[in-house]
């Protein structure tokens, strides 16, 4: 009798609650509680005792130790932040460019797209951890990669010389040549971003392009005045994604894991991860705040 008296919308609400129950359980058990616990750990020292572990409160000393006595942490933290700041703009520009290319009609487009998404599949921390350079070095001994490797090196030297002579500031020169040198790294970390941009480009209404063509806009103008503004929300999405992604495989992660599972300093490691989390949140907040002012929403 009770069931009959529920209206459809009430029933739907109850199903909604039912559907998210597993998520809710997981959220509490595997996310919120660990988060609180991790914060508690970061304020204490932990030792394993029989059948469990003991937690002794010791205040903020874990945090202060990080910046006063730990030799690696500040260096690695700045290192990964700088890497992120350098890489994310390149990745965004490259992936937008690649998506625009792949969105055009040409023969073999399906093949080119399939190849461009291949890095999504090959990108793996395990592979990245293996020193690729040592492998290429080994291969170039046999003469295989030698030609290409040498060529690439030479090219970027020439480029550097040319750019410097043309009067660009050395900072920019290093930035550009650095990007050219790390082209493989950049391509392989921009697979998902290309995908998001491509999906976005497909959703731009053709009527807009048609209208601007009739008004006499050139391809260049159409890109900057139609495509680019329509892409700004996705640029924001992609920047957030790239920042999170760039933090998911860097040296600081291994430092945190090592501190926890090699030297068994759980409290120290928790403090590390909280500082790290604060830095990530700050960067995300700042970049979102800056960019979302420029973002253009069509509707």
């Amino acid at each position: 009798m009770f069931r009959k008296s529920l209206t459809l919308s009430q029933k739907k609400q109850w199903y909604g609650v039912l559907f998210v129950t597993p998520l809710l359980l997981g959220l509490v058990m595997l996310f919120l509680l660990p988060l609180i616990q991790s914060f508690r750990f970061s304020l204490s020292s932990i030792h394993l005792v029989e059948g469990g572990f003991a937690v002794d409160y010791k205040g903020w000393s874990n945090y202060s130790q990080l910046f006063t006595t730990n030799p690696d942490y500040p260096r690695r933290l700045t290192e990964s932040v700088i890497n992120m700041v350098v890489n994310v703009p390149i990745i965004i520009i490259f992936s937008l460019f690649a998506a625009v290319l792949l969105n055009q009609k040409f023969r073999g487009r399906a093949l080119a797209r399939a190849i461009f998404f291949l890095p999504v599949i090959l990108a793996s921390a395990a592979i990245a951890n293996l020193d690729i350079s040592s492998f290429v070095g080994g291969a170039s001994l046999s003469g295989t990669g030698g030609g290409e490797g040498g060529g690439g090196l030479l090219q970027s030297f020439e480029l550097k010389k040319m750019l410097t002579e043309s009067g660009l500031a050395p900072v920019f020169v290093n930035y550009i040549t650095g990007a050219v040198d790390r082209i493989y790294e950049i391509i392989s970390s921009s697979g998902v971003q290309i995908l998001i941009f491509l999906a976005g480009l497909q959703s731009v209404s053709p009527a807009l392009y048609e209208a601007s063509r009739i008004e006499g806009a050139t391809g260049y103008e159409i890109f900057w005045k139609v495509t680019f503004p329509m892409m700004t929300p996705l640029i924001l999405t992609n920047i957030v994604y790239s920042i999170i992604d760039s933090f998911s495989h860097n040296s600081i992660n291994s430092l945190i894991s090592e501190t926890a599972f090699k030297s068994f300093e759980f409290g120290q490691s928790a403090a590390m991860s909280w500082v790290y989390f604060a830095v990530v949140t700050a960067i995300l907040g700042i970049s979102t705040a800056i960019i979302s002012r420029k973002v253009f929403y069509y509707d």
Partner: protein, 317 residues
């Protein structure tokens, strides 16, 4: 039927030499760029393939460029032995396939609730889901480990078995539990993808199903899921591939059970007795190839479907 503007374009391109040469120049530049990028992506892969079949003699032979002179399967054999390939492959496959199926179900259900079955607090809950994407996994790493090491499920286990806690480390349970509660690897992202997609499906379809007497559950799996195939393909591929390549959670939860990604990281020490460093890096490279080979084969089959479906997924924010 082409629009008048399209005809105007065609006429302009066909009969204006300047436009025509500009168009051709762009085609050439585009082709070169795309071919170049494809080369950069494929080159290491081909190199790996070529190196994998080379014998030791060929390493120092400068005349061997791509096709090995002394074709051999020895590298693959050694790499397979060092990584215990087949048992590791089986474990990896079980974990990846299992978590993929389970988290597909849990994420799709939760996302459907967020998209259509709104209730009090669902907005807040969705905000928390997005928050899980932002929090680095390292922050909750230790408590998560301890949760599974001394697993008691809010004290329920003690109630039933009398033991104080269960040790779930070195079993597949952590992965299954995480993914069935939609807290596995990058599950927040999958929920987001599904939610965006479900929101894009017209409400009328759903309403007509209700009018025809289908319940909420039936509407979900008979109407919504078949319509969400592009999103499903994307999520399945992502979750399978990311779980396959993941070495972080795997090394956290499994120390004795061997899976490919951790085996690969330990392979250097497993090969320790090999004196020739170049040959050792060659073997490591073969190991990388062995790790990715199943994925590449899988991708060859699903790529067409994947590339098409991605465009319609609407990951768009």
């Amino acid at each position: 039927m082409k629009s008048p503007a399209a005809y105007a374009d065609i006429i302009q391109y066909r009969f204006n030499p300047l436009e025509k040469s500009k168009l051709w120049l762009w085609i050439v530049v585009r082709t070169v760029l795309i071919a170049g990028f494809c080369f950069i992506i494929l080159f290491p892969l081909f190199l790996r393939l070529s190196v994998a079949f080379r014998s030791k003699v060929d390493i120092y032979d400068p005349t061997v460029l791509w096709i090995p002179r002394h074709f051999t399967f020895d590298n693959i054999k050694i790499a397979m032995e060092a990584t215990h390939y087949f048992s590791a492959l089986l474990n990896t496959f079980l974990i990846s396939a299992g978590t993929t199926v389970v988290q597909l179900a849990s994420c799709a259900l939760a996302a459907y609730a967020f998209a259509r079955l709104k209730f009090k607090g669902s907005g807040l809950l969705f905000g928390l889901v997005i928050f899980t994407i932002v929090v680095p996994p390292q922050t909750i790493m230790i408590p998560l480990y301890l949760t599974y090491r001394y697993f008691d499920l809010f004290g329920l286990i003690k109630l039933f078995t009398g033991k104080s806690s269960l040790n779930l480390i070195d079993t597949f349970w952590p992965f299954l539990i995480s993914s069935s509660t939609a807290m596995g690897l990058k599950n927040g992202l999958y929920i987001y993808i599904f939610r965006q997609f479900f929101r894009g499906i017209p409400k009328e379809i759903e309403e007509s199903a209700f009018v025809d007497g289908a319940g909420v559950l039936k509407t979900f799996y008979r109407i919504m899921l078949p319509n969400a195939v592009p999103a499903i393909v994307t999520v399945v591929l992502f979750s399978f591939v990311w779980q396959w390549n993941d070495s972080y959670y795997v090394s956290l939860f499994l120390s004795k059970v061997k899976v490919l990604s951790t085996q690969l990281m330990d392979m250097g020490s497993a090969l320790g007795k090999e004196p020739d460093l170049v040959y050792q890096s060659m073997l490591l490279n073969t190991g990388v190839l062995l790790l990715t080979a199943p994925l590449i084969i899988l991708y060859l089959f699903v790529q067409r479907y994947f590339v098409e479906s991605v465009e319609r997924t609407g990951i768009v924010g």
